[in-house]
């Protein structure tokens, strides 16, 4: 009797093994997801990971006959560590795609690997313009800092803002944000009264805000990494700058959806330009936010859509190549790909492999007792202005 069951069990196991073996024989597409789950950028990593999980939950783990396997690694935002992880994923785990990369140096350090090993590097977060130029296998689904900075300059010029003080964090994305804004704003006849740079680590904005206030601008243009928006907002209102009639404008990083609910009423009225707001009015986004919040109990931010759309891009490209997962075929399939993302219609630029997307002008408002970036104006199909200007 007993032995019969045992035989049955063994047979079942063998069948199971055959079945999975079969799936593997058809092939697996491996994605090495390198994000920071610890350290300074942990909130970004958490958002991306949650979005990737959500996408796979919604769309299954098989596409075009291929099984999708995501291998998660924690980079801690340390570039040389990122490089080693990427290298191991490529050499030992034979991944087809490396994805993630929340800071620019991490994305750049992996670029030569992508070129040398011929794997796709999918940048889901980092926003410096130059990244996609560093390897023919890099594709980006996040944004570039100049995309937002240039658009907010256009908007400011159209809305009777003539004199601006810029405040940016003292590091490369800050310079990018400052340069793009300043050039565009000046070309519209605007005036930059002062360009202030604040230290990146543990900033105290108070003295800088005082200097900015003394210059009596129409508006202050702000760029800080997403984590510092709350502190800035608090000090901005403490100094009474909002009551002095100074508007606050910037890229969307300062009113990151991840932190906005905790910023308090100080943030109300801030006008920013960015590619995603959790409040974006579309059926796709409503479904996305609802599913995301249900799974994670926090609000998706602009980093999360980078991860979500990144997964979509991989799935769609695999469908188009009918499961061929070499870098050449995937990149060819990804170029020019268009789809409806939670953030609105987006496209991968066939020339630069960078993202083309709508940039929205939003104002922080209270809706149902919660703060949201409410979109009120759309600049359609914005390309990365830095690369566009080079041509």
């Amino acid at each position: 009797m007993m032995s019969k069951y045992v035989t049955g069990a063994v047979a079942a196991l063998a069948l199971g093994a055959l079945a999975t073996g079969g799936a593997y024989a058809q092939g697996t597409v491996k994605i090495g997801l390198i994000v920071s789950m610890t350290g300074q950028q942990a909130s970004t990593g958490k958002q991306i990971k949650a979005a990737v999980d959500l996408y796979m939950k919604q769309h299954g783990d098989t596409v075009a006959g291929k099984k999708i396997e995501v291998i998660l690694r924690d980079s801690g935002s340390v570039p040389d560590h990122t490089k080693r992880l990427a290298q191991e994923l490529i050499v030992n785990d034979h991944v087809n795609i490396i994805a993630g990369f929340e800071i620019t140096p991490a994305a750049l350090v992996a670029a030569p690997l992508a070129t040398k090993a011929k794997v796709v590097e999918l940048v889901m977060a980092a926003g410096t313009s130059i990244i996609t130029e560093k390897s023919p296998y890099i594709v980006r689904t996040s944004f570039t800092v100049p995309q937002s900075a240039v658009i907010i300059a256009d908007w400011a010029a159209q809305n009777k803002i003539k004199k601006v003080v810029t405040i940016v964090s003292d590091y490369a994305p800050g310079y990018d944000a400052e340069k793009s804004f300043t050039e565009r704003f000046k070309s519209h006849g605007g005036q930059i009264l002062q360009a202030i740079r604040v230290p990146l680590a543990n900033p105290d904005f108070a003295p800088f805000l005082q200097r900015a206030a003394d210059a009596k601008p129409d508006a202050i243009y702000i760029f800080v990494p997403s984590g510092q928006g709350g502190t800035f907002m608090k000090q901005f209102t403490e100094r009474g700058l909002d009551k002095a009639g100074i508007k606050l404008i910037g890229t969307g990083d300062v009113t990151d959806d991840d932190l906005l609910p905790g910023m308090g009423d100080a943030a109300i009225g801030t006008v920013t330009a960015h590619m995603y707001s959790a409040d974006h009015q579309s059926a796709a986004n409503k479904a996305y936010v609802a599913a995301f919040e249900k799974a994670n109990h926090f609000r998706p931010n602009f980093m999360s859509v980078g991860g979500y759309d990144g997964m979509h891009l991989i799935y769609a490209a695999l469908k188009k190549t009918k499961g061929k997962a070499d870098a050449e075929s995937l990149i060819a399939a990804m170029k020019g790909m268009k789809w409806e993302s939670p953030r609105g219609p987006i496209e991968i630029d066939p020339q630069t492999r960078d993202i083309i997307q709508n940039i929205y002008i939003r104002k922080v408002e209270k809706k149902d007792g919660q703060l949201y970036n409410v979109e009120f104006e759309t600049f359609k199909a914005v390309k990365d202005p830095v690369k566009a200007a080079k041509k």
């Binding site: 935002s77 140096p105 003292d170």
Partner: protein, 349 residues
């Protein structure tokens, strides 16, 4: 007073016994070199371990042998890395070994200059001074983006083959072999150094600077020398980082690096040269294993291990391995009991 011939003989015997190779040491290096052939798919992490081990060794030289505590040792790591990377980028020195030495020497020069700051004051002052030096260097690198690439990191570094023969490969085979050989050579030099009369005088400086001064050891000179040498080692470690990753970024200067380094040395135990290497092995493999297992929560486990280590070696956290080393000494067939007595483990409390 002239010491008796017997006393002199005993002293020389003790000295040569200290310098003698223990079988476990040989085993350690045999295993390290064997890894070139038996663990080909682990070479990338082993490369990291090798340079981290060298970096920790450099801290051990000042912390374990001279009692200088530093929270800014990453300054030299960063200097070495940027020097080697810049030399390669602008094709000034294309050969990696030469660039490596240059990286070491630049760090050494800065180490020499800043050592005079370190001489001033006690442990707390030293912590602040070393930390400050690292912060200043990081900011200089950040400000001079035209040269260093700023916060984006230094790109476009093309590392040529080692000695013109061995190109760096994707799987890290060349990288590991290269790092290991550099580590081994520098380890031999360090071993010779700490077992020399100079090394012994350092230990006396560490345990009681006043008394060392009283018996005619010039304390400051010795501290300057060992700090400068340590900076050279850290610079070489940094150059290895830059060469094996073909990249250099600002975080090489960061406080986290220096703090992690202390952690590595504490895990391995300071003051016997192998501490840094063993610490690097444990730290990296633990980090790699745990972070693959739980990418979110691995720092918790590392923290727990550290707490346990501190509890086990309560009186001196830097020497929790002492019982193991005593055991190892007992196993050594050549070391007799009277020779182990005045060992380095208890340089005096």
């Amino acid at each position: 007073m002239i010491p008796s011939p017997a006393a002199i003989r005993a002293a020389t015997e003790w000295l040569s016994a200290r310098a003698r190779w223990h079988p476990l040491e040989m085993l350690f290096w045999l295993a390290a070199f064997a890894a070139i052939f038996v663990l080909p798919d682990q070479h990338l992490i082993l490369t990291e371990i090798a340079w981290l081990g060298l970096f920790a060794l450099s801290l051990d030289l000042i912390l374990g042998y001279a009692g200088i505590i530093s929270l800014g040792h990453a300054a030299f790591l960063g200097l070495g890395a940027y020097t080697a990377a810049l030399l390669a980028k602008f094709h000034i020195v294309d050969e990696p070994v030469l660039a490596l030495l240059c990286g070491g020497f630049v760090a050494m020069a800065v180490g020499f200059v800043t050592s005079f700051l370190v001489l001033r004051g006690s442990d707390l002052t030293r912590l602040m001074v070393t930390l400050g030096v690292a912060l200043i260097l990081a900011e200089i690198a950040n400000r001079n983006g035209w040269l260093t690439g700023g916060a984006d990191g230094l790109q476009g570094v093309d590392i040529k083959p080692v000695l013109g023969l061995f190109p760096f490969d994707l799987a890290g085979h060349t990288g590991y072999t290269y790092c290991l050989i550099v580590l081994f050579i520098l380890f031999l030099l360090a071993r010779r150094l700490v077992n020399s009369p100079f090394g012994l005088s350092l230990l006396s400086v560490k345990s009681n600077p006043l008394r060392a001064l009283a018996i005619g050891i010039s304390v400051d000179t010795r501290l300057v020398i060992i700090y400068t040498i340590s900076a050279f080692y850290a610079g070489v470690a940094g150059a290895l980082v830059a060469q094996t990753t073909a990249f250099a970024s600002l975080d090489l200067f960061s406080f986290d690096r220096s703090a992690d380094l202390l952690l590595v040395l504490i895990i391995g135990g300071a003051g016997y040269l192998y501490g840094g290497l063993i610490g690097a092995i444990i730290f990296k493999f633990m980090q790699d294993y745990l972070s693959a297992l739980t990418p979110q929560y691995w720092p918790f486990w590392i923290g727990l291990v550290l707490v346990v280590l501190v509890l086990v070696g309560r009186e001196r956290i830097t020497s929790w391995t002492t019982p193991i080393r005593r055991l190892a000494a007992r196993l050594d067939w050549r070391t007799t009991a009277h020779l182990t007595a005045p060992s380095t483990e208890e340089p005096g409390h």
